[in-house]
Symmetry: C2
Subunit: 201 residues, 2 copies
């Protein structure tokens, strides 16, 4: 199944074809692929090259570790994420290593790294589904996340399965077209809210 | 000049070849390319599909608009960013449109969109350099950014120039290899800080 974005202008195939499925096969993800997605995250840019991103990894070839991770997700996410091949939790270092001051770019920079990770997964034939619906307190406790790190999201990585493997209403949601605000609502010029209207050459 | 990352495992060429130069030619960026980078940002994932990202665009074919944007950067950034083809400011909506509650994923999700933008630029033959060093108050005032949006970074987009066009010490910095923390410092399993050491098949 392809959910290629209906873009207003052509964009790179990885960006156009990335989406967040819930139907996964449950097959094991090769270590090489998992290493590549983490390596892609590693090379993201960040403020002062702080690299505030951290990832906790649990793969479904280790049943106990996977169950422990799955239990940190909201119940509604557990329903489908149990068929993921790997579950990752993301965290960001809240202060700069260089001077201990608050890093207000930490979450933004974590996002930069995560998008690299997600696109690399797709390049390798895997899909990612990010979740805000987690028990961040449970993640902090189970994995002993230090105070200086903010736990933010989970990422399910898996191989795409038939939407028919999902229960309703997830099955229906899985097949809906992807929707976005028009470009005119997010790109401005001159004044915030004034649509960027370039002079075409 | 290539600054391909020395990765521990092979990764997608766009991710491996992305870096943040300061030497730009100053040539005009085709509208089609600029549209594509913004379109790539548009298709990023976000919590509840909120799409909190906003971009203010200034291109160097409009001298007054470009000077107005350039003046919002720190002086040290102005020195090289004056040769960018476009300057963008990023902002994130701090609350959810659906219920007005604080969106703690807003900056993270802005980061997801920005990485799409940066990789799309590279796919089109352009480079991006993100900056934290801006006068966020000036951005807010000059572009009338509403209170509900956080102004975060600037992004210079341009065509790569010879590092020799830069003054020192920027010239030397431009040619340094890219460095990152080892993967073992950012990917954990079982317990935060315990290196993820997968069993190779």
């Amino acid at each position: 199944m392809s959910k290629e974005a209906q873009t207003s202008v052509p964009i790179h195939e990885l960006v156009a074809n990335r989406w967040s499925p819930r139907a996964f096969t449950g097959e094991t993800m090769p270590v090489a692929s998992l290493k590549r997605v983490l390596e892609a995250a590693r090379w993201a840019p960040s403020c002062f090259n702080e690299q505030p991103w951290r990832f906790i990894v649990a793969t479904n070839d280790d049943e106990a570790a996977f169950a422990r991770a799955l239990g940190c997700l909201n119940e509604s996410n557990q329903r489908w994420a149990k068929k993921a091949s790997a579950l990752l939790f993301t965290a960001a270092k809240k202060t700069f290593a260089r001077d201990g001051k608050p890093n207000r770019y930490a979450l933004h920079d974590l996002g930069l790294a995560v998008e690299n990770l997600v696109l690399q997964a797709l390049a390798d034939g895997w899909h990612a589904h990010q979740m805000a619906g987690i028990d961040a307190g449970a993640v902090r406790e189970r994995y002993a996340v230090p105070e200086d790190f903010e736990t933010l999201t989970a990422i399910a990585l898996g191989k795409l399965a038939d939407p028919a493997t999902l229960p309703e209403p997830l099955r229906e949601r899985e097949q809906k077209p992807r929707e976005r605000l028009p470009l005119s609502d997010i790109a401005f010029a001159g004044r915030f809210g004034d649509t960027w209207t370039p002079r075409d050459p």
